[in-house]
């Protein structure tokens, strides 16, 4: 397995580029050409090549789950803590996505950062390198603790890169917000990791000792685990919800989605890499990674589906009225991750993975396209200041349009196939006897309409009509380093969906559903049988009670396509002219509510002010009063008695003599009385 021997390089190469950039920044600030971009590009391209090699190996049936480094051997029967590598179809696919997008973003950064003469470039490329390494480390992680460590590193890099322009007012505050909000979710994740260790004694993802396998055995009664007095299913659901906390934070699901729109303060390539294609995907990927565990827990699955469906709709409505191009994209990102959660919750493991892949391509494309527009507009992001850019930047326009069609879910672009499959899975499992899934499906379906609308509103306002400002009339040109990544991603956003055309397969019997086949089999290695979509299907049927109805994929596909077209048509009707009006003004109060994001930020601040702060103040009082009070009392008693007692040290020798004499006399008297001298 030669490729697997080189697999650690996938993580180590970007990590090296991080070190190179940091070392250069410290000792020889100007030694690296292009501010450190070249080592980064070389490292991520190297990772991409090794990832490709690994993917080929996996395609040939190769799988591996090996321990790379034991960093704590347990005492007694405490579990070992290890770094381990898990390479299977899911991680191989994700490795390809992450390393490809990371490479393209590094190239794009040449145009967005270097050509714009930004300062602090080594810091920027160090952050990108560390981020790429952490994300790839998260993807190959073979156990929950390692996944958690890299999850946190990814969050740290997000903080560093959002706050890249730390001299301005907005970015540092946005960086802190992103850090704190995701950390709030990660806190639950950490408790969940500890809980998994305490319950199963192992946090591995693969093999017969892995915790999903043990959980399954515990439910059938073949294995016993510590459940701390709860019912087995109940306790597993608690663990599932705890881990879900981290997922909701990282994947920006309601109610922890508030950090993502603010994170747009970071440089646009960072938004593309972190806040669209990869880091935000970490949460969804984590659920997919331990899907064997979640498939046992119908309650948690229903919650995931409901949160996902709700987030998809909720975020889509907010995207309808935004003025800044990146804000629209931010809300569409939240909404699309909602679809992935809906897919996972509804039992559509393959569908959600598929949407994760296509979304990574088309959303990275859209963000980089937006970055190109922002370069052209001299960093003005307001869509109402744009217009008519179509003729002036044709490459950006064509690729952006491909991404938009994919986002809106218009056939045959990538997003159509994947979003359609997610909705189809929700529908068939919902009709199979789960009203919650049907409700989530309904919300997802309405969100399709809104997605079509805001996507084409964005395209029309940015690229069509007459230029509305002088900036838009004479945009700044963009170089090859911007166009090349756009073209690559544009091709992928157009074609990635062909990997898994469920309705076409049903109609014609070909082409094969490649992604289904990719994720379904264990390559003849029974140790990995627990990580296949076939196995997940059985679990969902046996434990979650999901059943499907016989339903053609064609009609639901046509419904969602129709809704997407309706939304897009609505946007065309309202915004197609040479000089479109601001129709959002007509929404009145609704517009204010949407524009202020349903006052979610205000509501969370209120929650902090009126619940968390008084609670903290009470805790502070307890701490100051009771805990510190005890310590202070002890010390003040000894201080007081010391102050009194020291008075006998008069410094007058005669007094000491008196004390000596009296003391001796008293001693003699005591000895005498006890010794019976006076009896």
């Amino acid at each position: 397995m030669a490729a697997f021997d080189f697999a650690p390089l996938i993580v180590l190469l970007p990590f090296t580029s991080f070190f190179v950039a940091v070392a250069a920044a410290i000792w020889r600030p100007n030694i690296l050409p292009k501010g450190g971009a070249l080592p980064g590009i070389a490292a991520t391209a190297g990772s991409l090549l090794v990832s490709l090699w690994v993917a080929v190996e996996v395609l040939g049936g190769g799988r591996t789950a090996e321990t790379v480094y034991v960093w704590s051997t347990g005492v007694g029967d405490a579990p070992e803590l290890v770094f381990s590598l898990l390479l299977d179809p899911l991680s191989a696919l994700m490795l390809l996505i992450v390393s490809l997008v990371a490479t393209l973003v590094h190239v794009f950064s040449l145009g967005y950062m270097n050509d714009e003469d930004e300062t602090g470039l080594p810091r920027y490329y160090a952050g990108l390198g560390l981020f790429t390494a952490s994300m790839l480390g998260f993807v190959v992680a073979g156990n929950l603790l390692m996944a958690f460590i890299f999850f946190e590193l990814v969050g740290l890099c997000s903080y560093l890169l959002i706050g890249f322009w730390f001299r301005e007012a907005g970015p540092p505050s946005a960086a802190k917000k992103a850090f704190l909000v995701t950390r709030f979710g990660d806190y639950f994740f950490l408790v969940g990791v500890a809980g998994v260790f305490a319950t199963f004694g192992s946090a591995a993802f693969a093999g017969p000792e892995s915790f999903p396998a043990v959980a399954e055995a515990a439910l059938t009664g073949e294995a016993s685990v510590r459940t701390f007095g709860f019912g087995t299913q109940t306790w597993f659901s608690v663990l599932g919800f705890l881990i879900l906390g981290g997922v909701v934070g990282k994947s920006a699901q309601y109610p922890l989605h508030t950090w993502l729109p603010d994170a747009m303060e970071g440089p646009t390539p960072v938004s593309a890499l972190i806040h669209a294609a990869t880091m935000v995907a970490a949460g969804v990927y984590l659920i997919a990674r331990i899907y064997g565990f979640y498939a046992l827990l119908p309650t948690v699955l229903a919650a995931i589906a409901l949160v996902g469906g709700f987030t998809a709709l909720f975020a889509a409505t907010m995207g309808l009225v935004k003025r800044e191009i990146k804000q629209v994209l931010a809300y569409s990102t939240i909404s699309q991750y909602g679809y992935m959660m809906l897919g996972l919750g509804a039992g559509g493991y393959v569908a959600a993975t598929f949407h994760l892949m296509t979304h990574a391509f088309f959303k990275a494309l859209l963000f980089l396209g937006a970055g190109s527009v922002i370069i052209a507009m001299h960093h003005n992001e307001d869509m109402w200041d744009m217009g008519g850019l179509r003729k002036r930047m044709p490459v950006t326009y064509v690729t952006f349009l491909a991404g938009s069609l994919a986002l809106a879910g218009i056939v045959p672009f990538a997003g159509f196939w994947s979003k359609d499959e997610v909705l189809y899975e929700a529908l068939v499992h919902g009709l199979g006897g789960s009203p919650i899934l049907l409700a989530a499906y309904g919300m997802g379906l309405v969100a399709v309409l809104f997605t079509g609308f805001y996507t084409f509103r964005m395209v029309l306002l940015t690229f069509h009509g007459d230029p509305r400002t002088e900036l838009a009339r004479n945009p700044h040109g963009v170089g090859w380093n911007v166009k090349a990544p756009l073209v690559v991603l544009g091709v992928l956003a157009t074609t990635a969906g062909f990997l898994n055309m469920v309705p076409v397969h049903e109609l014609l019997g070909f082409p094969p559903e490649y992604l289904h086949d990719w994720l379904a089999h264990d390559g003849g290695r029974s140790a990995f049988a627990g990580l296949t979509s076939e196995h997940y299907g059985e679990l969902l049927h046996d434990w979650a009670g999901y059943s499907t109805v016989e339903l053609s994929a064609i009609l639901p596909g046509l419904v969602s396509l129709g809704l997407a077209l309706l939304g897009a048509g609505g946007a065309y009707a309202l915004y197609a002219g040479d000089d479109p009006e601001e129709h959002t003004e007509k929404l009145g109060a609704a517009k204010t509510v949407l524009y202020n994001n349903y006052y979610q930020d205000e509501y969370q601040v209120w929650l902090t002010d009126s619940v968390v702060k008084p609670l903290s103040r009470t805790m502070d009082t307890f701490d100051q009063g009771v805990v510190d009070g005890t310590v202070n009392t002890v010390s003040s008693v000894s201080l007081f008695s010391g102050r009194r007692l020291r008075r006998i040290q008069t410094g007058v020798v005669s007094n000491y003599a008196v004390l000596l004499t009296l003391g001796l006399t008293a001693l003699v008297l005591v000895v005498g009385v006890l010794g019976g001298w006076f009896a």
Partner: protein, 101 residues
């Protein structure tokens, strides 16, 4: 005609009490020294008497040691008093109270 032991014990006790009283009541450092000499000699009286009483010279020998020790103590005591005089312009022990709380 032997003097009974109680006489010697009374003499020694009287000497010791005079010494203690001197230490407790006097303020002059020289008188302190003298009072200490009195207490030491009260012990010597006992040593010498009981040595003769038992016909054993160990007690008399010990009293010689005590006298030697007293000489040494006086040498050091005088030195201390000299320093006391230089630093506090007098030998009143109640004046020298800088080493207190």
């Amino acid at each position: 005609m032997a003097v009974p032991p109680s006489y010697y014990l009374l003499l020694s006790a009287a000497l010791f009490c005079i010494g203690v009283a001197g230490v407790l009541t006097r303020r002059n450092a020289l008188l302190f020294l003298m009072s200490i000499e009195l207490m030491l000699n009260a012990a010597n009286v006992n040593f010498v008497y009981f040595s003769q009483f038992w016909g054993n010279v160990t007690g008399q020998t010990f009293s010689l040691f005590v006298i030697a020790l007293a000489a040494a103590e006086v040498a050091i005591g005088i030195g201390i008093i000299l320093v006391l005089y230089r630093n506090f312009d007098g030998v009143d022990v109640t004046e020298a109270t800088t080493m207190r709380w």
